[in-house]
């Protein structure tokens, strides 16, 4: 090959490598961007008067008088729309039987949309479900609901060779020349006065319980469950892992037994996480009976097994990294081997071991599959410490899955889903960042 071609290939090769690194960074950004970009809206958003009423009634927060005054103000703004609706209802009631029936359907849809937007219509009974008791609590959702009132989704089948094409038709077309027609200009015009949106900073999202399957409130039970599960897993995994590491580094003779031990540890690391879940169900719950059914305890034990190999490896590396001179100095001062390990090696290795523990905590906090059968439920209240021995708990990773694929109203609670994902990712990345900083400090110290 020509020298020029070889040089070109060399450049292209380096370029390829750099491109792949850039692609990695881009992948990270692309995955994190939507979570960060939409997750904060769970905390900071424009809340409507309905939001403040909900907060007052469900969480006893806010100034009752001010909120009542606001409600009266909003009710005045809404009256015009309700009057138009009532006038049209009268008009429909006066129609002949057949026409009334077709009109009634359309009217019912409009009433549905209005109910969705503003809450129960005047004169209606208070609905059972909390989500129906209030209008839209968030301004962005209110605007989406307004679109549903103004536009009808229909499918255009004019081209028989293709699938139906979605087209949005203004709803007002169906009510041309009726008493309802002004409604479709009144509502968008006065929506702001009807809802009174105001910027709200809902930091309590992290510390509030949720109402009505996450329609209202925050993620405290999930946060608490994740914390319990993670700390519980560490309570079991850390002592076992550190002891195993000490044995492997300081006491074991490299030989057949140790190589078998290592093979088993790496096998344990390779077991698929869902198999851990099944094992937890079959062993901790069905065989040992640590709890009647799912519980935080069973989940913690399962997670502990999952992170055990990580803890062992990290602790082993940390102990190996302690300079041999420390050990030799301690031994030459007459300390026994035990004393050397406990008073010299372990304190010196502690930061490294902590790094491993923190990384394992991140792993345990984010794992979903092992807790599906052993600890997680979709809805629950925050548990007390004693209840963790026997009660299942909601947990962030499981509820993220649950809310975005099994919840009945997936599209209504996107902000909660994103908020939950952001919380979990931040939690895990925070733990990892702590580990990275810790490690940087250690290597600085070791360099002197």
């Amino acid at each position: 090959m020509q020298l020029g071609t070889r040089k070109l290939l060399d450049r292209a090769f380096s370029g390829l490598g750099i491109c792949s690194i850039l692609l990695l960074a881009a992948a990270l950004l692309i995955i994190l961007a939507p979570m960060a970009g939409r997750g904060w809206r769970a905390f900071l958003f424009r809340g409507t008067v309905e939001y403040r009423r909900m907060m007052l009634e469900r969480f006893q927060r806010g100034d009752r008088e001010a909120i009542e005054a606001e409600e009266a103000q909003a009710a005045k703004a809404r009256q015009g729309a309700f009057d138009i609706l009532a006038a049209y209802e009268k008009e429909v009631a006066a129609l002949g039987f057949l026409e009334r029936r077709t009109r009634q359907d359309d009217l019912e849809k409009v009433r549905d949309c209005m109910r969705d937007l503003l809450g129960p219509l005047p004169g209606e009974e208070r609905p059972v479900l909390p989500r129906d008791q209030y209008g839209q609590t968030r301004w962005d959702r209110a605007k989406a609901k307004l679109d549903r009132l103004l536009l009808v989704e229909t499918y255009d089948y004019s081209d028989p060779t293709k699938m139906g094409v979605k087209v949005m038709v203004p709803r007002v077309d169906r009510f041309k020349g009726t008493a309802l027609e002004p409604l479709f200009t009144t509502v968008p015009e006065h929506l702001e006065a009807m809802m009174l949106p105001r910027v709200e900073f809902y930091w309590r999202f992290l510390f509030d319980v949720s109402h009505d399957a996450h329609f209202f409130g925050g993620v405290w039970p999930e946060m608490l469950g994740t914390i319990y599960l993670t700390v519980g897993a560490m309570l079991f995994a850390v002592p076992m892992g550190v002891v195993a590491a000490i044995y492997l580094v300081e006491f074991a003779h490299e030989g057949r037994v140790v190589s078998i031990l290592r093979t088993f540890i790496s096998t344990l690391a390779g077991v698929p996480s869902i198999v851990f879940g099944l094992f937890g169900l079959a062993f901790f719950i069905n065989t040992l009976g640590v709890s009647g059914s799912k519980s935080v305890l069973a989940g913690s034990l399962t997670l502990a097994l999952l992170v055990l190999p990580t803890v062992i490896r990290a602790a082993e590396e940390a102990i190996r990294a302690v300079p041999q001179t420390y050990k030799e100095a301690a031994l030459s001062l007459g300390a026994s081997r035990w004393r050397t390990v406990v008073t010299v090696m372990l304190p010196a290795a502690l930061p490294g071991i902590l790094t491993g523990i923190v990384i394992s905590m991140g792993r345990a906090a984010g794992e979903t599959a092992p807790i599906i059968f052993t600890a997680a439920v979709s809805v629950g209240k925050p548990l007390g410490l004693g209840e963790t021995l026997s009660q299942p708990t909601p947990a962030l990773p499981w509820n993220i899955y649950n809310l975005c694929s099994e919840h009945a109203e997936v599209n209504e609670i996107r902000h909660v889903q994103y908020g939950m994902v952001l919380t979990l990712v931040l939690l895990v990345l925070f733990l990892n960042a702590a580990a990275i900083i810790l490690r940087a400090r250690i290597s600085k110290k070791l360099r002197g």
């Binding site: 071609t5 060399d10 002891v243 390779g270 077991v271 198999v275 879940g277 081997r337 990712v425 895990v428």
Partner: protein, 389 residues
Amino acid sequence: MSQAELSLTDPLGRPRQSLLLSKRATRAKQVASLAGRSVLFLITSSSVLAVLFIFYYIAQDALPFFRLRGAGEFFTSSEWYPSAEPASFGSLSMFFGSGIVTLGASLVAVPLGVAAAVCLSDVLPFGVRQLAKPVIEMLAAIPSVAYGFFALVVFAPLLQERGGAMLEVAAYVIGGPLAFLAAVVLADLTSSRAPEKARWAGRIVAFLLFGGAMAFGLVALGGMLRGLPIDSGTNALNASIILGIMALPTVVSVSEDALQAAGRDLREGSYALGATRAETILRVVIPASASGICAAVILGVMRAVGETMVVWMASGNAAQIPSPWYDLTAPVRTLTATIAGDMGEADHVTGSARYHVLFAMALSLLAISFVLNLASEGATRRARRKLGH
């Protein structure tokens, strides 16, 4: 130091404690040390015990299935109707789903991962490498459910609406530069025999010929991809891409270690013979660290096979073998997702074939990951031996 301080007796003439321990004290210490050591050993072996228990308890609940239904249907049929009357438990399509998703994930993770590892170990300066490391660590740290959420809520709708266009752009971006390079190399190779005078002209003509053919092929491929009908955003393609990104950190860090272990002298020897950096890496360093890279690939594959949440959320969960089998835009269902998804329904019928079939799947997964783990250990060991450590 005075004489008195060194003497073995105290000022009153009584003997100081002997430096030698009595026989009894030594024995007591030995016993204590042995006991302590055994306790340590026992605790360490608890991980061995855990592995054995996992195998035992999964097998214990899996065997009733084979006793009830036999093994033939499970492994060879793709009729998965666990709640029908009569029920059928053919799991071939789940094995297929796990396989195709893993294959797709390795197609993403292996080339990218190895290229990134090469770049990290041989191309980038130290400072930039320190910046790239946290990126990889963060990718590894993001919980799988967050990846699954991204796949389901963000990526799937995008793929469904403009999947064809995205694939087309990807084909141009990846294929374009590669086709250009291939044309240059082919032109060089074909014209190298030509006489000195005609060489440049020959190269240009050959380049235009090859380049034109490749551009034509690329445009045809792009057009085909653009017209690709994608009925649902949750499919094997979606799961493969996201799983590939998840498996990347493992592949990158393990193969970077392997490349580093190949040593400086090997590289310097190759440079001294006049090879460029690309030639050194491709012909010397990568062959020397092939076992280590192999271990990295196996570990990445293991991560993809065992992953649950992403495939559960992103693969569409249709128990079928798409036709043709390589159709990545069809929804599939994997072993892990079946276990996770069906346990809720099978939970009330503990003892039925419906319940035990999930353990049979878990046992298969366990066996697969065990074999892969042994393979990766073997590869690592061979790598160590080869490089003389």
